[in-house]
């Protein structure tokens, strides 16, 4: 019984520690953004909390030219919160509206950080503008990778048709070897 209580306490401490690291990564990213975008005071970065999950449901009411994923962010949150205390996560808000969401996780040895899910609000409902969702996600992931000591950033399962798009953001594309559950990805070596 004592062992279980101690393990639970230890897990809570680890969970709190990584939550704190993500907060620091977001704060440093916000500071960075304040030098880059004129409307920075309208941009807020948060964790994916219940407010963000609720707001993401509203994206389905906005027309989008890109196909929709079958899964919901509530579903993704259940998986990542349960499985990965060291996860990467971020919600991007602009003028009080949810504009982007992302989840990822470090590799076992924390040498790489994988961004596994990125979605932006459709253009009509995106006051930040879809063109800033991925760059801000990459900035925050870079800051978190720096904290963890990761030397490579990966974007997993890029949506078909967006390879050139990610390559223009300094990533290199690697096509899957065909092995089961090993998707296509793009990578960038961090200095």
């Amino acid at each position: 019984m004592v062992i279980i209580i101690n393990l639970n306490r230890e897990m809570t401490n680890i969970s709190e520690r990584y939550e704190k690291l993500r907060v620091i990564a977001r704060e440093v990213t916000m500071e960075n953004i304040s030098h880059l975008y004129q409307d920075h005071s309208k941009i807020i970065l948060t964790k994916i909390d219940s407010k963000a999950l609720q707001a993401s449901v509203g994206w389905f009411d906005i027309e989008c030219s890109r196909p929709r994923a079958e899964w919901s962010w509530k579903e993704a949150a259940r998986v990542y919160r349960k499985e990965y205390t060291k996860r990467f996560e971020m919600a991007i808000w602009h003028s009080g509206k949810l504009c982007g969401l992302s989840y990822g996780r470090p590799s076992y040895g924390k040498t790489r950080l994988r961004i596994e899910l990125i979605e932006g609000a459709p253009r009509a409902g995106n006051s930040l503008g879809p063109r800033r969702v991925v760059p801000i996600t990459i900035m925050n992931a870079t800051a978190y990778a720096g904290i963890l000591g990761a030397k490579e950033l990966r974007i997993m399962s890029p949506v078909p048709g967006l390879i050139d798009y990610y390559e223009s953001l300094d990533f290199t594309y690697v096509e899957t070897s065909g092995a089961r559950y090993y998707p296509n990805f793009l990578y960038k070596i961090l200095k």
Binding site: N126, P135, T142, Y144, L162, D170, L190
Partner: protein, 58 residues
């Protein structure tokens, strides 16, 4: 918490912040991507694949 522990925690946090700052300083990201419509940008389409990807160890 003792003053010594407090100052230890503060200096650790400063060190962590500096790591994040240095990572951003050394690795610049373009401010804008190419023209975009929003929607899913990375991740599998199916719910099953999303869960498999999330649970797949490297």
């Amino acid at each position: 918490m003792s003053e010594k522990n407090k100052s230890g925690l503060i200096s650790e946090e400063m060190l962590i912040r500096e790591k994040a700052k240095q990572a951003l300083k050394k690795n610049k990201t373009p401010l804008y991507s190419a023209e975009d419509e929003g929607g899913l940008m990375s991740g599998p389409m199916s719910s099953e694949e999303m869960k498999k990807q999330a649970k797949n160890d490297e």
